[in-house]
């Protein structure tokens, strides 16, 4: 199994632990990835707000570069995953967009023929590797660690390609295969506020508070995320969002939990980068890890 890998900007910044743990999981499961050569920013939600045509062209440069490799491309960040998929769809649906993008790519000597599948790690792990293969490779079972699975938006919305839009379960099943216990979490696809915490802080904090409180209420010991922005919001603003009484809820990437179970050592999967440490929880659960 070999894939093109599109990390996106966040995985080189605040979301470094996501990349570290993702690659660790892939290594453990013999998935080979090759980083997309000279990839650029996908444009994210922000660019769409100012100039959508340009944002499609930006995303399309990555698609065009990926086409040369003739492999499926993995995009772990929710925003990248959506923008790349959306660009493909809009180029199919809107001739004007296709024209603009094709010309722009031509200007830098590229073409885009719409034959790269942009896929999410959840999709790859569940549908290509499979739960059975993963369970067989688990070295440090998570011993019923209570996890609130938080998918956020943009993974299954608006395009449901590999999971149910209203009640996605791919992450639930992957973590269960690693021995975790999934707690009831009705807000699993509710918005974390995205960049609102930065731009309209009061409102952003409200949304973050709902998500944290609900996870705690349902007995979660850790929240598992699939998106750098969700992870950042939920972890870094805990103190501001919930203070009476204060909350201490570790927020990890689902790949960090999986990598842990597959026997990776803490420092190779970015556990040390957490602001809310998971160590006390793991100690309580007597989950011994390297």
């Amino acid at each position: 199994m070999k894939y093109t890998y599109y990390p996106g900007c966040s995985l080189r910044g605040t979301g470094r632990a996501y990349e570290e743990s993702l690659l660790a999981v892939f290594r453990a499961l013999n998935i080979e990835v090759q980083e997309l050569e000279d990839w650029n920013c996908c444009g994210a939600t922000t660019y769409l707000s100012v100039d959508e045509l340009t944002s499609y062209a930006l995303a399309a440069r990555n698609l065009a570069l990926a086409e040369r490799e003739h492999r499926d491309m993995i995009a772990p960040c929710s925003a990248c995953y959506l923008v790349l998929n959306k660009t493909q769809r809009y180029m199919r649906d809107y001739p004007d967009i296709k024209l603009v993008v094709t010309r722009a790519l031509a200007a830098i000597g590229l073409t885009c023929d719409d034959h790269v599948r942009v896929r999410h790690p959840l999709d790859i792990l569940l549908n290509e590797v499979g739960l059975k293969a993963i369970a067989e490779k688990v070295k440090t079972p998570l011993k019923g660690l209570k996890v609130a699975p938080y998918y956020g938006c943009q993974i299954v919305r608006p395009y449901a390609t590999f999971d149910d839009q209203h009640n996605p379960t791919s992450m639930d099943r992957l973590l269960e295969a690693c021995g975790a216990k999934i707690v009831y979490y009705p807000l699993k696809t509710r918005c974390c506020g995205g960049s609102q915490k930065g731009t309209l802080p009061e409102i952003g904090l409200d949304l973050i508070r709902y998500l944290l409180s609900e996870a705690q209420k349902n007995g979660a010991e850790v929240i598992a995320t699939v998106c750098p922005l969700c992870q950042f919001n939920l972890e870094c603003f805990q103190k501001e969002a919930v203070n009476h009484p204060p909350i201490s809820m570790p927020v990890l990437y689902f790949t960090q939990l999986m990598a842990l179970a597959l026997g990776a050592s803490a420092n190779t999967i970015g556990l040390q980068r957490s602001l809310v440490p998971i160590a006390p929880v793991l100690a309580r659960k007597e989950i011994a890890y390297a």
Partner: protein, 196 residues
């Protein structure tokens, strides 16, 4: 108490705006909107909006440009796509929110120092220059332009992230940076040529 005229004359309507919204990408079905309000109900941000998404859809298709573009709602949208998935008429509400943001920026319909358009502008500037985003620099630039004081409050968090290796001031760059400029210039040229 300030009393003002609230009645709307037909002359207050901008039919061109109504035409634009129903011809813009994602607006194909806006006229089919049943005004059921499901979008407003499902929107996690509608609690804070001056006009709910439902009302924005109606005001837009009727051409009440001023009301729509000066609404806070278009800035509150986080693009979570909940409205679009649930819409019984498959109206691309999320995308229309993007379209309205762009139009509001083009026509200058937002308060000064309003962080969202500033963030969008800084973002695009950084992409043009480097091809990638360095989050630390982006955040710094946005706060410098909108809320310098809040930057001080954030410094503690910034320091912790820096120590955890999640914030760096090393700029992320791509190799073939001129390609990005060429790409963007081509888009601008085609847009102009085709009047898109």
């Amino acid at each position: 108490m300030e009393l003002k005229r609230t009645v709307k004359f037909e002359a207050d309507r901008d039919p061109e705006f109504a035409r634009w919204i129903s011809h813009t990408v994602g607006g194909e079905r806006i006229r089919e909107c049943l005004q059921c309000g499901l979008c407003s109900g499902t929107c996690p941000l509608s609690l804070y909006m001056d006009y709910t998404p439902r009302r924005l859809m109606h005001l837009s298709r009727e051409g009440f440009k001023e009301e729509v573009l000066s609404s806070s709602s278009i800035w509150l949208c986080t693009a979570c796509y909940a409205c679009m998935v649930e819409c019984p008429k498959k109206i691309n509400v999320t995308h229309l929110m993007y379209a309205l943001k762009q139009r509001a920026i083009e026509e200058g319909f937002y308060p000064k120092r309003f962080p969202i358009p500033v963030m969008a502008q800084q973002f695009s500037r950084m992409v043009r220059r480097s091809g990638r985003i360095t989050e630390s620099w982006l955040i710094l630039q946005v706060f410098l332009r909108t809320a310098i004081l809040r930057l001080l409050g954030m410094s503690k968090l910034g320091l912790r992230l820096f120590l955890a290796g999640r914030m760096t001031f090393k700029r992320e760059r791509i190799e073939r940076r001129p390609e990005i400029a060429a790409l963007l210039d081509s888009v601008a040229a085609t847009r102009k040529e085709l009047a898109l």
